[in-house]
Amino acid sequence: MTRRPYLQKPQRFGWWFRQARYTRYMLREVSSLFIGAYTLVLIVGLYRLSQSQVAYESFLANAMGTFGMLFAIVALCFAIYHTYTWFVVTPKAMPIAIAGKRLPGAAIIAGHWAGFFIASALVWWLAGGN
């Protein structure tokens, strides 16, 4: 009595297109590519800033060029999607109980969004924007 060997079928590259929720999952995971890449661009920008005015201004000209703008737009969309997916799981990741009563998930998510707008406004204001 020998068991038939288990043969793992090679995973198809495009499996995440088969169902909408697989696609949403993959979009969430791929957000890290754009968030990571944009963060590295920011780090390079600060490095160029530390080098010299000429170095920084040549970096800035590239960052503000057509490709830089398109990249920033795509990165912004993924960043907002990351925020959305991160906040959606917060009721499960950190359920809050007040006086023994579970706070409804929607309230926890709404609280995070309120924090998001306050944090964004604070950074904007501290950096000198109006």
């Binding site: 090679p10 995973q11 198809r12 590259f13 995440w16 993959m26 995971e29 791929v30 890290s32 590519l33 968030i35 990571g36 890449a37 944009y38 963060t39 590295l40 920011l42 780090i43 390079v44 920008g45 600060l46 490095y47 800033l49 530390s50 005015q53 920084y56 201004e57 800035l60 960052a63 503000m64 830089g68 703008m69 920033a72 737009i73 990165a75 912004l76 960043a79 907002i80 990351h82 925020t83 991160w86 906040f87 995070h112 924090g115 998001f116 944090a119 964004s120 950074v123 904007w124 950096a127 000198g128 924007g129």
Partner: protein, 115 residues
């Protein structure tokens, strides 16, 4: 207690993901799109203005913490996502992405010290 590097990596991932969730959209807006949109003055990203903003050591420390956490969050998620794309060489992916994150961390630290 079992010794594993997982809690550390997971802690960085979760902290970085939370920081990214709260701050990444406004960072992208402020460092690029707000200027062509006319939301910030054209000289906001000028050399003189950024040098002025970065003079403050507390600002440098916060910038370091925020960008490093986001970098490690992205590196860890990219390592996991490589598996979803059918790449089975997990050790190679871990080495690749964590080394990129480490290079970014060191470069940022160097830049902020010499600024």
């Amino acid at each position: 207690m079992a010794s594993s590097h997982k809690p550390i990596v997971w802690g960085l991932f979760a902290a970085g993901g939370t920081v990214a969730a709260f701050l990444m959209p406004v960072l992208i807006l402020m460092t690029c799109l707000a200027i062509p949109l006319g939301l910030l003055p054209a000289d906001f990203l000028s050399y003189d203005n950024l040098i002025r903003i970065m003079q403050n050591y507390l600002t440098r420390l916060i910038v370091f913490g925020v960008l490093v956490l986001i970098t490690w969050h992205a590196a860890h998620r990219l390592r996991i996502t490589a598996h979803d794309f059918g790449i089975r060489a997990d050790t190679a992916m871990a080495i690749l992405f964590y080394n990129i994150a480490m290079a970014g961390t060191l470069l940022l630290g160097y830049a902020l010290i010499t600024l």
